[in-house]
Subunit: 504 residues, 2 copies
């Protein structure tokens, strides 16, 4: 009876999911336009095979055999791997293949309908697709199982152990803190932003972003940066972790910060313990996705930490604005480091989530989470969505919603059947600030940040977060790293300090 | 009883092999340096899965069911697909998985040993690895089966129905024709080549190569060109067929002609009948490789045809040299179209196959084929290889071999276990000339070539070669397209005409 046979079976599934990731990466960066149709079939076949292998007889037998293994397991990780695989496969197997196939087919059609509805501001045209998506999401939630709220089943497939009951107090605390903060932000002294829209040649933007990403700890010998429409990070083992960016010549911040955001994700994947390569601790069998990060939320914490806590910090631009100005002497000759820092932190309440600043971003997430939970529970009707959206947008951000295109139709998530993933963005923001605060309590980290040496921070995160891969729950990682459970305090403190600084 | 279930099983295998092709393409164009080890495992896992599926119970059952199908099959292609799949799977299943695994492992080590031996001119260091490779190749040949010569089993896995007995008269005819032709070439008037070594910026080379490749018929909406060390073409269905090139700033021909060579391969793949997408007629189950071309030799015929018959023709440079000179006015200002054409056709007997010109290339192949056949049959001993190599090189090309590095150690093929593939290069040369001659008998094709319109040629090749995919044997395709079986006449005539032209 051996662990090895189990580990070999799992490694096969991991290899397939890494191949799926490459098929995905390629389709978003390199693939010629006509390749779409065949690529979708290749991804469907490989994902199906991974599912078949994971839930098949050979795997079940390998798990049973491994449970009776007498091979050495000094730190208990091998037995833990078996238990974790069994847990995930149990959930995966409870979602009927027929339901997965229906959802996949629906997604293709629902996305097409969404694209059209958004273009034509026609919520009624999308509503039937959303109804059908909700039906399948409810079926999925029922198949996965839950004790309190059906939303829990969906949320926890992205963020293990997270429930609506746990989210609500976090959201309430955030709302209570952010509403007055946004009030205060309205009376900040004017922030100059004109220079961000000057012409910044993209190749120079990219070179600067890359230089900084490398200093932040992203290893280009185990990665690369390519252009794409919607930036993302994706990995095929820790030895090959790729990031993508999108640069706009006349809007400097978007390219720089998206690269550092994705580099945060990438550094996480590159930092997973090499022992976990091709193991259950480097993949998500429930979502059939090769990934080393412990959860969507913890992953997002690493990108937000690098993008916002580090990249938007005052010290960062005190240290590096001179380098940026050396790259763009004409465009930034009349700008000070202080002005630049203020510009990339300017609060700008927006109707659109992806354009939101740090002070308002979470309001967008809270709004969506509340609606998702209500929809799944049957407490909110699809037909009422535009009205509910408008009401919440007015309440949280004081904005009037002029159209569904700029309101309820703005995100791709619902048409993709990704209900329950929105909360992980805010969880990431909270975790990111909490981890940053704990890291800064380390003198080496704080000293490094103060002189522009990011190696101590990366090392701290590597030790306390990255190396664990998926061998610990995000909650356990967070508690061990920060000494406390998930709480909004550090995040709120960081945002409050920022507003205070901006007012100074 | 249905064909559809069989076709779905085959489509899955095709999808996996297309994914393997992407893993391979990426590893040679995009992958960061540290990705090698994990990538090898991913490719091994997916190839193994394709093999398991192809030879597994479900496939066998699907084939049996399809044989009793009562679904419509007006042109008999569905029944033919079943028969062809059964044939290939029969061969695949006869090669024991253990032998495949051994060969894969040996390849890694033998290649490493070869790299070292080549660098140090140490044939004795490589000899044991070659012995072991030969053992496995003989085992493979025995597993595949043959009636006359063990080499037949290996050659026919690259070129269906090709045997040593069929190759020898072709080789004899070529030797008889090429030896005097090479003699004659020695007394050609001097050919000016100095200008090929000037500095040609690579991006401009690439742009010109791409412009011409597009005009030749390569569709960039279903393809792309990237840089690599050893250029190749690879496809993931006819909708996504990629080529690669390698440009040298101070040696103009290599970049241009390698792109057109690969474009010839690419146009073949892009021209396969769309009905064959994801079918047995768009993959090679014996080599577990997704490919639409009917054989290695027929594939090579398309690249050689475009590179040599078209791209090195006098008319081609009469038509296009002005465009090239417009791109490089400084570098080519003192060169005429005629001089340029002569330069890219200059006969240059070389010790190294990959640097050989058209007049001497086949001597390299014949030499290797004779040695391979002798080795496999046990008539040649590994220890005698350097001496035999030197003797043949002297006899065929009149060259003295100064070292094994420039002799028997120059190619990667033997360390990769690819014995039996060399003949397909010469088969490709012969087929290419034979098809070109037949195409030119079509007035539209000839007229097009005369005015630089390559669409009629591409259309002719599409109709007579490309669209068939692997639904016909290369021999049947060639006979139907040219009215005769494989014969060296047209190839020899083309080379003879070239020498005559160069002398004029």
């Amino acid at each position: 009876m051996t662990f090895s046979a189990f580990e070999a079976e799992i490694a096969k599934v991991n290899d397939i999911l890494c191949a799926v990731n490459l098929l995905t990466w390629d389709s978003r960066t390199m693939m010629p336009p006509c390749g779409v149709e065949a690529r979708a079939k290749q991804i469907a076949t490989l994902t199906g095979l991974a599912r078949d292998l994971a839930t098949g007889e050979a795997m079940l037998r390998a798990i049973e055999d491994a449970r009776r293994s007498d091979e050495p397991d000094p730190d208990g990780l091998r037995a833990k791997a078996v238990a974790e695989a069994a847990r995930q496969i149990g959930i995966l197997a409870r979602i009927p293949a027929k339901l997965v196939a229906e959802a996949t087919e629906l997604k293709t059609n629902a996305q097409a309908a969404w694209v059209e509805a958004r273009a034509e501001n026609d919520f009624a045209g999308f509503a039937p697709w959303l109804e059908r998506t909700l039906d399948l999401q409810r079926e999925t939630a029922a198949a996965i199982g839950y004790t309190e709220h059906p939303y829990d089943a969906l949320v926890s497939s992205y963020e293990p152990d997270m429930t609506w009951a746990r989210l609500r107090p976090l959201y309430d605390a955030l709302k209570a803190a952010l509403l007055p903060l946004n009030e205060a932000a309205r009376s900040l002294p004017p922030i100059r932003m004109d220079f961000l829209e000057r012409a910044f040649p993209v190749d120079k933007q990219r070179a600067f972003a890359v230089t900084m990403a490398r200093r932040m700890g992203y290893d280009f010998d185990r990665g690369r940066l390519d252009d794409t429409v919607h930036p993302f990070e994706i990995s095929f083992t820790r030895a090959d972790v790729r990031i993508t960016g999108r640069f706009r010549e006349t809007w400097l911040p978007v390219g720089l910060f998206s690269v550092w955001h994705e580099a945060g994700h990438g550094i996480y994947e590159q930092g997973v313990d090499p022992r976990f390569t091709r193991s259950i601790f480097a993949m998500d069998l429930i979502n059939l996705y090769a990934v080393g990060g412990a959860s969507f939320g913890l992953h997002e914490s690493q990108s937000r930490l690098l993008e916002n806590r580090v990249g938007r910090s005052r010290r960062f631009w005190e240290l590096h604005f001179g380098e940026l100005r050396a790259v763009f002497p004409d465009q930034l000759g009349d700008v000070s480091a202080h002005e630049f820092w203020r510009a990339v932190n300017a609060p700008r309440p927006s109707l659109v989530r992806v354009e939101a600043d740090e002070l308002t971003y979470d309001a967008h997430i809270i709004l969506r989470s509340e609606i998702e939970a209500g929809l799944i529970a049957g407490e909110i009707r699809v037909a009422d969505l535009p009205a509910i959206w408008a009401e919440k947008m007015k309440g949280y951000l004081g904005l009037d919603v002029p159209s569904d295109t700029l309101g309820v139709l703005q995100d791709v998530h619902w048409s993709s059947g990704m209900m329950g993933s929105f909360p992980t963005y805010t969880i990431g923001n909270i975790m990111g600030a909490q981890l940053y605060r704990a890291a800064c309590a380390d003198a080496a980290v704080a000293g490094g940040l103060d002189r522009g040496d990011y190696a101590p921070l990366t090392a701290w995160l590597g030790t306390h977060v990255h190396r664990h891969g998926r061998s610990l729950t995000p909650a356990d990682i967070l508690r061990a790293a920060t000494g406390k459970p998930l709480a909004v305090d550090d995040y709120v403190a960081a945002l409050r300090a920022k507003v205070t600084d901006l007012a100074a």
